[in-house]
């Protein structure tokens, strides 16, 4: 199959609201259920931004489906006034794939947590990426199991002390961005619960991308892992610890925007752009549309590298064929080649004989 180069334009089959029909508001996307997260939980913000952006997508409410696994984050569908399915732990990608395959006109959203997606659901996660259904995946990464009351998760830092690891966890954490890229993901991004504007923009880009769109959202669990991402989300430290990715722009960051990332052979380094040694021209320029994954992988690796800022934004956005379209093509192709299925003929196919 040939791959197209960019995903700048969306050619989704998801049906749009016809012109003239009154547009919806955030309220229309709020269900009648009480939200049941701890006060102060980062999930609230993600819910609010999702509800706010929905009207802008132009999709009739009935064509939107939210599918989740199990976890605090996975209660999300109950609060959206759309179709929803709160399934079982780790399996949302499979059920969402079935929903999308059966009806490609639906706008399908997968809501998952770091445990749900990367622990029990790790396999479905990576296979979902390589299948490239036109799904939107929001991973609420709070680096902890919230619902089961605070065990370490696959994104918890090594040495994490939790109820299940009183002396510290032993595993190297996963980097969800790297894993998604290695699995062939076509749209990979990261955003923050505490940056509503950025979050909305990224959710919208994810929606507009045709293919599986994956967003890792740094989310604060103020009960079991409070402040795990504060250095990236709070005003005082955010600018120095994050670099916002913009297509075609050099990697500049810092409160004074005087720092940047340069490539030295295969080794990245942080440089000053105002002390004379380097200018922004020496910096790596982001290209989210390139097919080659070397840059995206490199950016992903930054968050595992001490002293490097964490990239926030869209790492990669390329256009590959979607599973559901390829399947639909096979069906159309087969119908054209051998004609619409004729059940009577099928049952009577092969060698038959008649007794009278």
């Amino acid at each position: 199959m040939k791959r197209e180069r960019t995903s700048r334009t969306k050619r989704s089959r998801t049906s749009r609201i016809p012109a003239g029909v009154p547009t919806l508001s955030k309220k229309d996307f709020e269900s009648d259920q009480d939200t049941r997260w701890c006060p102060g939980c980062g999930d609230y913000s993600i819910l609010a931004q999702t509800q706010r952006i929905m009207p802008e997508l132009g999709i009739p409410r009935e064509n939107i489906v939210f599918i989740s696994g199990i976890g605090c984050s996975s209660r999300f569908p109950y609060y959206m006034n759309t179709y929803g399915f709160h399934t079982i732990h780790g399996r949302a990608p499979t059920i969402a794939s079935g929903v999308k395959m059966a009806n490609p006109n639906l706008s399908v959203w997968v809501i998952t947590g770091d445990g749900d997606a990367l622990s029990i659901g790790g396999n479905h996660f990576i296979h979902m990426m390589r299948r490239n259904f036109d799904l939107n995946v929001l991973l609420f990464n709070n680096r902890i199991y919230g619902l089961t009351k605070g065990q370490y998760s696959p994104t918890s830092e090594q040495g994490k002390q939790t109820y299940s690891t009183p002396l510290g966890s032993l595993e190297t954490p996963f980097n969800p961005i790297s894993l998604a890229l290695a699995s062939g993901a076509t749209f990979v991004a990261r955003s923050l619960d505490r940056d509503p504007d950025h979050l909305r923009t990224v959710i919208k880009s994810a929606f507009e991308h045709k293919g599986t769109s994956f967003i890792e959202i740094y989310q604060n669990c103020n009960i079991y892992n409070d402040g795990t991402f504060f250095q990236y989300t709070e005003k005082e430290t955010k600018a120095d610890n994050t670099v916002f990715l913009e297509h075609s722009e050099p990697l500049v960051f810092g409160a004074e925007r005087n720092k940047g990332i340069r490539l030295n052979g295969f080794q990245p380094e942080v440089v000053e752009t105002t002390n004379g040694d380097y200018t922004t021209d020496d910096l790596i320029v982001h290209d989210q549309y390139t097919e080659d994954t070397t840059l995206a992988n490199f950016l992903a690796g930054m968050s595992d590298t001490p002293d490097m800022p964490h990239p926030i934004g869209i790492f990669r956005s390329v256009r590959h064929p979607c599973y559901e379209d390829a399947m639909t093509n096979q069906i159309h192709g087969a119908k054209e080649r051998v004609g619409d299925g004729d059940l009577e003929a099928l049952l009577n196919a092969g060698e038959t004989w008649t007794v009278s």
């Binding site: 929803g84 059920i95 079935g98 399947m327 096979q330 099928l346 009278s356």
Partner: protein, 618 residues
């Protein structure tokens, strides 16, 4: 000179050889030829466990057993009239299946010292008395085939591959069958390789002429057509009948079929079969594992398709959590389990019926799920169709519990007219379901207790479902004690009510009396044959074969009580037995075999005799 022809009622032939010897091919040819002239046929392939075990080894033996008759038959036969053994290993593995004085055809060219040793023979069995009680025909199959094909352009290796057709030529002669069907088949099969067409036909003819010309067989046999109900027939394997049943259900209901699966013996053929029918809109998805496979089927069901998944025992274990989700979410889903011999990986190429209780109870919590089981290869069509009908009508997962024996076995099938197929109505909820207090996803149909199927895309019916307990009617998450008990009861009652639709149970043989054999699944053929024999002998014996295992038919209690003894033959350690004993509190007894093999008719007959003796008969 044509030798005398003897009329016989039936015959059983076992073709066996190395995996590469083509026994399956010639077995199928003989089957089709017999079916086309109107015999009733039943077949059973026996593949080796390994893909391609070392040539000539015992592990590499591939067999194909064919039973054909001028009467109705139900099994591929207990013992054989003819054994075609292409090498010593085939002889070693299958000789015990040949009737005393049966015809044994061996390729004597393959009985060199090395081959004998590979098969574990110290001495040549053709010479040391091993085969003394049979009619032995030692044919130089290799040499004769090479001779017949010496003027072709083929390599020796290619020529040697044709020797199965030489053997087929002999068998066709022996049973007075025309070579026409096979010639036609060879022409289609090798359409792009004309040299193979010629070669195989030459070999076929050579085998045929060899019998005609030499003094090999003193007589040949003729098996007349059987009396079949009027209709159009074809020969069909169980798994293929399952494929057609699913497509038919999709077609008749108007629900697109989405089949999620992960390959596993012996269920893979359903995936392969369905994958060929994209022009019927059939979507097959080979997923990363069994959980993902059932997951896509559940997603598809939620979206308004006919979601189906298929596997075998170990795969079913993995799917159980997700099936439970479909159960509590009350979504239609069809789950095919083509059973094989367990436990664990067990013996993947052997048959067994030992997943019945797993299907009943292999999920946490109270999780009632309807179960239907086909009884014979062609019955897979109707039974899987029935599974789809129940799933759609009652919005519930349904288990279609087949097994390797019927999945891979084949027999003639009277092809139904479309008008004969029961209705499957996918009555999706529409806008009219949205009332003042919004849509109520657990408001039920008063008769079936099915909840509405409101698929995404329907305006005003937006709602949320999931695996947490839900409040009656509103479908909100609920931890309420009474509500939970109520929902548990409703889900049980919904399944129980299916019994009201089950047609009256057919009791074959005595309508009351001494012994009732109660069977299910792939034991049908053997049990029915044994009971037929008993009935012919005037004994007071009956046979009931259950298609519906959950719920049981309403009339079953009454039927069971009409007999002194209830005997439940199963290829497990007594699973239906446990259910019947606890449900009906009768002292039913089991007859069990756990050998990875189907019952032989004689085994059942002697068990019946034993019981009759205990009852004071004879």
């Amino acid at each position: 000179m044509r030798k005398p022809v003897e009329q016989i009622e039936e015959a059983t032939i076992l073709f066996a050889g190395d995996s590469g010897d083509g026994s399956q091919t010639i077995g199928t040819q003989m089957t089709e030829t017999s079916a086309l002239i109107g015999n009733d046929v039943a077949t059973l392939p026996d593949y080796p466990a390994e893909i391609r075990a070392p040539a000539g080894s015992l592990a590499g033996v591939s067999g194909f057993q064919l039973h054909f008759s001028s009467e109705q038959i139900h099994t591929p036969g207990d013992l054989c009239d003819v054994l075609v053994a292409m090498n010593p290993a085939a002889l070693k593995v299958h000789l015990h299946k040949l009737k005393p004085n049966g015809i044994l055809i061996v390729n004597v060219d393959n009985f060199a010292r090395r081959s004998l040793r590979l098969a574990g023979y110290e001495d040549n069995p053709l010479e040391d008395g091993t085969v003394a009680k049979y009619q032995v025909f030692s044919v130089e199959l290799t040499r004769l085939t090479r001779k017949a094909l010496e003027n072709t352009d083929l390599t020796t290796r290619e020529i040697d591959r044709c020797k199965n057709f030489f053997a087929l030529g002999m068998i066709l002669w022996l049973y007075n069958r025309s070579m026409e069907y096979t010639m036609k088949w060879v022409k289609t099969k090798f359409a792009t390789k004309p040299q193979y067409i010629e070669a195989n036909i030459l070999a076929l003819r050579a085998g045929n002429i060899y019998c005609e010309a030499t003094e090999q067989f003193a007589v040949s046999y003729d098996v007349k057509p059987a009396a079949f109900e009027p209709g159009t027939y074809r020969n069909i394997e169980g798994n293929m009948a399952t494929v057609l049943g699913l497509i038919a259900a999709s077609h008749q209901s108007g629900l697109p079929l989405v089949y999620g699966s992960y390959p596993i013996t012996p269920a893979s053929d359903i995936l392969h079969g369905l994958a060929q029918y994209r022009n019927f809109g059939v979507i097959t998805m080979q997923m990363e594992d069994e959980i993902a496979a059932v997951g896509v089927a559940i997603g598809a069901a939620f979206s308004g398709s006919l979601g189906v998944t298929g596997s075998s025992g170990p795969g079913l274990a993995l799917k159980s959590e997700a099936i439970n989700l479909a159960m509590i979410a009350e979504l239609p889903l069809v789950v095919c389990n083509i059973q094989r011999a367990g436990p664990s990986t067990g013996m993947p190429t052997k048959t067994e019926q030992s997943d019945l209780l797993q299907m009943f109870y292999g999920r946490n919590g109270e999780s009632p799920i309807p179960i239907v089981a086909p009884s014979r290869p062609f019955d897979c069509f109707e039974t899987v169709y029935e599974a789809c009908r129940i799933a759609v009508k009652y919005r519930t997962p349904v288990i279609f519990l087949s097994d390797l024996y019927i999945g891979m076995g084949a027999e003639p099938w009277r092809i139904p007219k479309l008008s004969e197929l029961p209705e499957i109505k996918a009555d999706f909820a529409g806008r009219e379901y949205a009332h003042g207090n919004g849509f109520e996803p657990y408001q039920r149909d008063p008769e079936t207790l099915a909840r509405p199927w409101a698929k995404p895309g329907t305006p005003e019916l937006e709602h949320r479902i999931g695996g947490l307990e839900k409040s009656d009617i509103t479908g909100h998450v609920s931890y309420d004690a009474e509500n939970h008990e109520k929902m548990v009861e409703i889900r049980a009652e919904k399944v129980a009510r299916i019994a009201n639709e089950i047609p009256p149970t057919e009791v074959f043989g005595a309508q009351e009396g001494d012994v009732l054999l109660l069977g299910w699944g792939g034991t049908y053929g053997a049990v029915r044959t044994a009971v037929e024999h008993c009935v012919e002998d005037g004994l007071s014996i009956a046979h009931v074969h259950l298609r519906h295992l959950n719920p049981f038919p309403n009339d079953l209690a009454d039927i069971l009580n009409r007999f002194k003894k209830v005997l439940i033959p199963e290829l497990n350690r007594g699973q239906l037995l446990k259910l019947v004993r606890s449900t009906y509190l009768i002292d039913a007894i089991g007859f069990n075999k756990v050998q990875g093999q189907p019952f032989h008719v004689y085994e059942l007959e002697s068990k019946i005799d034993e019981i009759l003796k205990e009852l004071g008969h004879f």
